[in-house]
Amino acid sequence: MLSVSNLHATVDDKEILKGLSLDVPAGEVHAIMGPNGAGKSTLSYVLTGRQGYEVTAGGATLDGEDLLALEPNERAAKGVFLSFQYPLEIPGVPALTFIRTALNAQRKARGEPEVTAPEFLKLARAKAAELKIDFDMLKRALNVGFSGGEKKRMEIFQMAMLSPRFLILDETDSGLDIDALRIVADGVNALRSPDRAMLVITHYQRLLDYIKPDRVHVLAGGRIVASGGPDLAHELEREGYDKYARAA
């Protein structure tokens, strides 16, 4: 599904990713762990096409298609979704309006018919109930005045509504208490399927108790320096990133 090879990327002329390679096949959940400053968020922004993140070498493909050649919205229409570490506030745009605009834009880009207002509202009510989101909150401006935890839950709500194929979760556990974490993890796990894949970026192992990864990668110094099964996350939790940070 996602294939990243020898990816080099700079931010403000500073090289952050230094030859990162990674394969995430369909149906799998991969975790990326690493110390602060290793390049975890940079990877998520490069894959989604944020301005200011320049790819200097290497590439990334989704189902064989060059992801880096596409506009951010085209990547989204192909099914790439990033749950932001710090979701943005969108003053004046009700959450439902925003999500419906996004959903219909994606469908249009894929040549699918737009969803009607009643269909959309029915879906939104169902997903909001699953994620224990008060429906009235969806009528308010997106993320404006929401707590950190509410914003994260709203990311997962958008994810559930847009039904992406490749999910990137960037530090989705930060700001969540245990109950909220469980709800969010349930929401993410509900999207696990043989034709989807996920990249879970996290600093702590905690999230991985709820979203169980198939593979764990250690990102340090802009490269993947170790890969293993789920046990690797526990080892990192016990022993820290020191030896990998030094190796990088």
Partner: protein
């Protein structure tokens, strides 16, 4: 010297220009060398329906200055009047409209400007509110890109009355919408809002002057606008609080988005306060669209032009939401959405 006298005398020297402090950013003298001949009259019955016709009890059409009108509201009466100012051709014309709302009368004025041609038009409105009268005035100015228009309203409030205005414009070759309010205090309530959405080389000037002459007056103003291409917006908001006009509460905000390097916004908020016990504040900001929010919207699949329109619409939405008349608010919102996607 005024636009009106220039049109009447056909003397371009009568036009205000950049040497006049109040007109320095809307220079008509430098723009118009020769005042055009008087516009020919035309039959307004050939026009298609105006933007607010369906909402009004009464529709008044002023065509090339012809059909000067009086709008009267009896004590306790409530009505909605659509006032259409239509210009055709390359001539000059002026119109006078007087509005009198008697004690406890309620009036909604749905005023629209539209035109085709390189005309010079001036519209003067004298609006008078008796005690406890309430007026909402919505101005939708959709002039021709080649037109030059000046709309000048003088508003007299009585104690206990309320006047709420929202002026929306897409500009013209040069355009000014001016509102002068004599505010008597006495718990009279004033709201003066504005929205400008300017593209290409269009120009719009929203100028307001409010004089609080006695105690206990409230004024709130919120103007928001967007300029792109080589458009130019002017906002001049002046609030004068006379000596003794204590307990005046006046707030003014002007916020602009500049979407291109060659677009321009000139803003002059002025508070002149001669009373001691007042609450006055003004805020003025000029900025660009939030790039992070733009990326966020695009990551969700919204193409850049639509993302920009959505965020811009939301930015001016704060002003549009303050319109009291629901039907007019919907029309104005749809008009704005269309302008932002044009």
């Amino acid at each position: 010297m005024s636009v009106l006298s220039a049109i009447r005398t056909r003397d371009a020297a009568e036009l205000p220009g950049k040497r006049d402090e109040a007109w320095r950013w809307t220079d008509l003298r430098g723009l118009i060398r020769q005042v055009p001949e008087a516009s020919a009259a035309f039959d307004p019955s050939s026009l298609r329906a105006g933007p607010f016709d369906a909402l009004a009890d009464e529709v008044i059409v002023v065509a090339n200055g012809q059909g000067a009108a009086h709008i009267g509201v009896e004590p306790g009466e409530t009505k909605v009047v659509a006032l259409r100012i239509v210009s055709r051709g390359d001539g000059a014309h002026a119109a006078r409209i007087s509005v009198d709302v008697e004690v406890s009368g309620r009036l909604t004025i749905l005023e629209s400007y539209e035109g085709e041609g390189a005309y010079l038009g001036q519209t003067g409105l004298a609006i008078s509110l008796a005690k406890d009268a309430a007026v909402e005035r919505i101005v939708l100015a959709a002039d021709d890109a080649d037109g030059v228009t000046v709309s000048q309203a003088e508003v007299d409030l009585a104690p206990g009355s309320s006047f709420a205005q929202t002026a929306l414009t897409s500009g013209a070759r040069r355009q000014r919408i001016e509102t002068v309010v004599r505010h008597p205090g006495g718990h009279a309530d004033l709201r003066l809002d504005g929205v400008y959405l300017l593209a290409d080389r269009r120009h719009a000037d929203l100028t307001t002057i409010v004089t609080h002459s006695a105690v206990d007056g409230v004024t709130q103003q919120l103007t928001k606008g967007v300029v792109r291409d080589q458009a130019r917006a002017v906002f001049q908001g002046k609030i004068i609080v006379a000596e003794g006009a204590d307990r005046t509460d006046a707030r003014m905000g002007h916020h602009a988005l500049i979407l291109s390097d060659r677009a321009e916004v000139d803003a002059k908020p002025e508070l002149e306060i001669y009373a001691d016990d007042v609450a006055c504040a003004h805020g003025n900001t000029v900025g660009a669209l939030d790039e992070d929010a733009l990326f966020y919207a695009r990551q969700r699949g919204i193409p850049e032009p639509e993302a920009r329109a959505l965020l811009t619409e939301a930015f001016i939405g704060e002003v549009v939401d303050r319109i009291l008349h629901g039907g007019a608010r919907d029309i104005v919102r749809a008009w704005s959405a269309e302008r932002l996607r044009a």
